[in-house]
Symmetry: C2
Subunit: 176 residues, 2 copies
């Protein structure tokens, strides 16, 4: 039976609005000391496959500075302390980034952002019957792009790993 490590001490290296990074000293069950083990503490993230009534996916084209690429992704982001639930966060991000609101929205799964290094989960949603009620918020530096769902599937269009997971879990839900 695999046992969790014990954290013997922990030092915060960065703690600002953008990043919380700590370095832990851990001990395994066998007594091996692991240090430094870096952990990024992050709030829950959300992403959403948002479909219009005619089965087009509402995507955002945006510059992604970690990878250094411009790429199409699902709407989503970080859950705020003010969001009552991950679902509210997903609907808020969808509205802010795209100007669309969902007819229905349902959670289709969860995954760890990266369980080796991050403390947080990503919660995946499927939003259907989405309609456009306005523009993306000021300050959103992105373009809203609609693609037929079949083209999203065929084209390997989504390059962000947890968007790929969200897409497939949403499809499973639609088929069920």
């Amino acid at each position: 039976m695999i046992q969790p490590w014990t954290t013997e001490s922990s030092t915060t290296l960065v703690a600002d609005e953008w990043l919380t990074l700590r370095a832990d000293t851990c001990r395994t069950e066998e007594g091996r000391v692991v240090e430094p083990y870096y952990v990024i503490e992050a709030p829950t993230w959300v992403s959403v496959l948002a479909l219009t009534p005619d089965r087009r996916a509402v995507l955002v084209d945006e510059y992604r500075h970690g990878a250094g690429v411009v790429g199409l992704g699902l709407p989503g982001g970080v859950m705020d302390p003010e969001d009552p639930s991950p679902m509210d966060a997903a609907a808020r991000e969808l509205r802010e980034e795209t100007g669309y609101v969902p007819g229905q929205i349902v959670e289709v799964g969860r995954g760890w952002a990266n369980w080796a290094s991050h403390s947080n989960e990503v919660v995946y949603f499927l939003a259907t019957d989405c309609v456009r009620v306005g523009e993306p918020d000021d300050g959103e530096e992105l373009e809203v792009v609609l693609h037929d769902l079949d083209a999203v599937l065929r084209g390997g269009m989504l390059q962000q790993s947890f968007h790929q997971a969200n897409l497939h879990l949403a499809l499973e839900r639609m088929r069920a």
Copy 2:
């Protein structure tokens, strides 16, 4: 047309065997300054859905200190400079972590680890006709667990986001 940002300066905050973290000062096309923007530079990661001839998935149960959980995942890890290709890295990680070697192995897709914060991709593989040739390497603190592929799918067994993506892209390949 969305344009990349320009990186005006960059400071390395951590650079050791475990983490390379930099803080960039960036300028958007509209002239807005973004700082600090933290980026983790990482080598390519690999993961592999490894199946035995009787369609059981070879999984690893391991403690994941970022999330603080023990969980079942796909074999995989970080590509070494000595690995000739991501595929070689995946086969090596499979052998080291599980003692299994593949009959066939094929790349089924790629995804950014996290394009907002990380520089690297995860390369996904499907390995079939895997056979056990030995034990996991000394130092691997994990348990090898086999589950019928159908149970992996039914159970929502995989909790790591890019393992979920790997699983579904491998299934698509198997169906095609």
